[in-house]
């Protein structure tokens, strides 16, 4: 029983990580209907920015370093949209998606060059309470007990705050309304006077800022290094697809579902792990979910089915 509970908790803990990476992907998808493969790497860069400000160079307080990193990441996102993507026809997905793949490799190599492909020690937690572990249900027969890592609580809390803030921005501000307008119909957006390009910049800025925040929060947990997002990206993609690619809340739920499935199924069906017997073994799960979703419900659980009545 304790083992099962532990697997559920592990699943939720990991799920929160997938959610925080999936949400920015959904933002970009909503704005541009393309999947930004560089999302994880840009988020990783954001976490390094924060590390540089807080530890490596200036040792400013973590919260301030995090805000600075978010601003920097937002500017970077706007710059990428403006210089690399704007000039392409947004309805032609292939070149744009290939560019995001290119950015993925460039950012990864760039980070590797500066910080080396090794784990950075002493990555600060954004929340002071996030260090440590609570152990429940410990007994003579079960020495391990039920372990809840505090940083998971921090991650889940941040996820909720992130969702709340995004909800406010998207539903209560004029900019957010314009963003949803562009997401719904680009041509009509132009016709009501929305400068579509500016809204896309805004979408990238928002996604990169929140991506950075997500990476900053999960960095102490999954270890800060240039490849930190490599596998997470696959889970996040599956989470976003599960939730429906254009639903922010769906991506959050998708993350938890993927996390739970991964930890519970892999926990009991060890053969999946044995089957591929590599470090990438757990990746089988999200790929299966991805396939099942794409086969049976391509719009995901909470995504918009293209509704049209003529």
């Amino acid at each position: 029983m304790t083992l099962f509970l532990q697997r559920v908790i592990d699943g939720l803990q990991n799920g929160a990580i997938y959610s925080v990476v999936a949400i920015p992907m959904v933002l970009i998808f909503k704005a541009t209907t393309l999947i930004n493969f560089a999302q994880g790497e840009l988020a990783m860069l954001g976490a390094f920015f924060c590390f540089v400000f807080a530890v490596q160079v200036w040792s400013v307080p973590v919260a301030i370093a995090a805000i600075l990193a978010m601003i920097l990441a937002a500017l970077l996102g706007m710059g990428i949209e403006r210089t690399m993507l704007r000039s392409f026809d947004p309805t032609d997905h292939l070149p744009v998606v290939l560019i995001t793949l290119g950015i993925f490799y460039i950012v990864n190599a760039f980070a590797g060059d500066i910080w080396n492909y090794q784990v950075q020690p002493d990555v600060p937690n954004l929340f002071p309470f996030a260090d440590g572990t609570t152990v429940l249900m410990q007994s003579e027969t079960n020495r391990l007990g039920l372990r809840i890592q505090h940083d998971s609580i921090a991650i889940i809390l941040s996820l909720l705050v992130m969702l709340g803030v995004l909800h406010l921005i998207l539903n209560k501000t004029k900019m957010g309304l314009a963003f949803r307008g562009v997401s719904s119909n680009t041509e009509s957006s132009r016709l009501v006077g929305i400068r579509v390009g500016r809204i896309l910049s805004f979408g990238w800025a928002l996604a990169c800022a929140f991506g950075a925040l997500g990476a900053i929060i999960v960095a102490p947990r999954i270890q800060l290094q240039p490849n930190m997002m490599l596998f997470v990206l696959v889970y996040a993609l599956a989470a976003a697809a599960f939730g429906g690619l254009d639903s922010v809340g769906g991506a959050a739920i998708g993350g938890f579902v993927i996390g739970l499935l991964n930890s519970v199924v892999l926990g009991y069906v060890a053969d999946i792990g044995v089957m591929s017997s590599l470090t990438a073994a757990p990746l089988v799960m999200p790929v299966i979910v991805l396939l099942v979703v794409l086969w049976f419900k391509p719009s995901g659980l909470f995504g918009t089915k293209t509704i049209e009545r003529v």
Binding site: K174, L177, A178, R180, G181, S183, S184, N185, E187, S188, S189, R190, L191, V192, G193, I194, R195, V196, T304, I307, E308, R309, V310
Partner: protein, 239 residues
């Protein structure tokens, strides 16, 4: 304020190699309803799209709106100057609610009378009020057209471009819609340029009319005169 709201000179447009407009000339006077008739493929939609510089078409020529040359302006900026366009196929935001569609219609405005205007169009189209929290994509064709028109009017335009507002609607709804256009034109003084296949109805509310044939203006004149023209009657009025 000049007497001429919209002046189009030598408007040419092409999609790739295909020339669609070969020098369209037209003029819409302030306060009037002007209609462009023409068969499928004559270039009616392209004319409207080129006027407000929407993408995909490559166009050249001079378009003057209330005296200012807007041929090089961005679509968004043109809307800001007071031109609104209801494109063919409605042009609403299907995932957003009716009321959000109207709010977005007022995107270029900075005054605080947006709510009043929403109420005003809800009075004009009461069915929209019943559907105010419903996604626009789930409205019926006629309701969507009403929404598209109100959405355009929310920007308080001086000139309203309507691209085949009757397309796909039941005859009785079309008649209602056109009498509403007439009422809006009279009450608000909104100048209108309507592209329409339903020539009879369009000519009945218009003051002036143009007939577009394979990319250039073949006939023009006061609406009443065109209605009596034998060539127009034969080609567009089914006489």
């Amino acid at each position: 304020m000049s007497d001429v709201m919209l002046e189009v000179k030598g408007l040419k447009a092409s999609y790739g190699q295909v020339d669609v407009l070969r020098g369209v000339e037209l003029e819409v006077r302030t306060g009037e309803v002007c209609v462009i008739l023409g068969a499928n493929g004559a270039g009616k939609t392209t004319t409207l799209r080129s006027i407000c510089n929407m993408p995909i078409v490559a166009s050249s020529g001079v378009v003057k709106f209330a005296g200012t040359d807007i041929s090089k302006s961005d679509t968004g900026a043109i809307v800001g100057q007071g031109m609104a366009h209801v494109p063919q196929g409605r042009g609403t935001f299907p995932e957003l609610s009716t009321i959000e569609n109207l709010q977005l219609g007022a995107y270029v405005r900075t005054d605080n009378e947006v709510e009043d205007d929403i109420d005003r169009w809800f009075q004009m189209f009461p069915v929209l009020k019943d559907r105010k929290d419903q996604a626009a994509g789930s409205l019926s064709g006629g309701e969507q057209q009403m929404l598209a028109v109100s959405r355009a009017l929310m920007s308080r335009p001086k000139l309203l471009l309507l691209d085949e507002p009757s397309l796909g609607l039941a005859p009785i709804i079309i008649e209602d819609l056109f009498s509403t256009f007439k009422q809006i034109n009279e009450d608000e003084g909104t100048t209108m340029l309507i592209v329409e296949q339903n020539a009879n109805l369009a000519l009945s509310i218009a003051q002036s009319a143009y007939v577009l044939e394979t990319g250039s203006i073949a006939l023009s004149g006061p609406a009443a005169q065109l209605r009596d023209d034998p060539a127009v009657q034969e080609a567009y009025l089914g006489a």
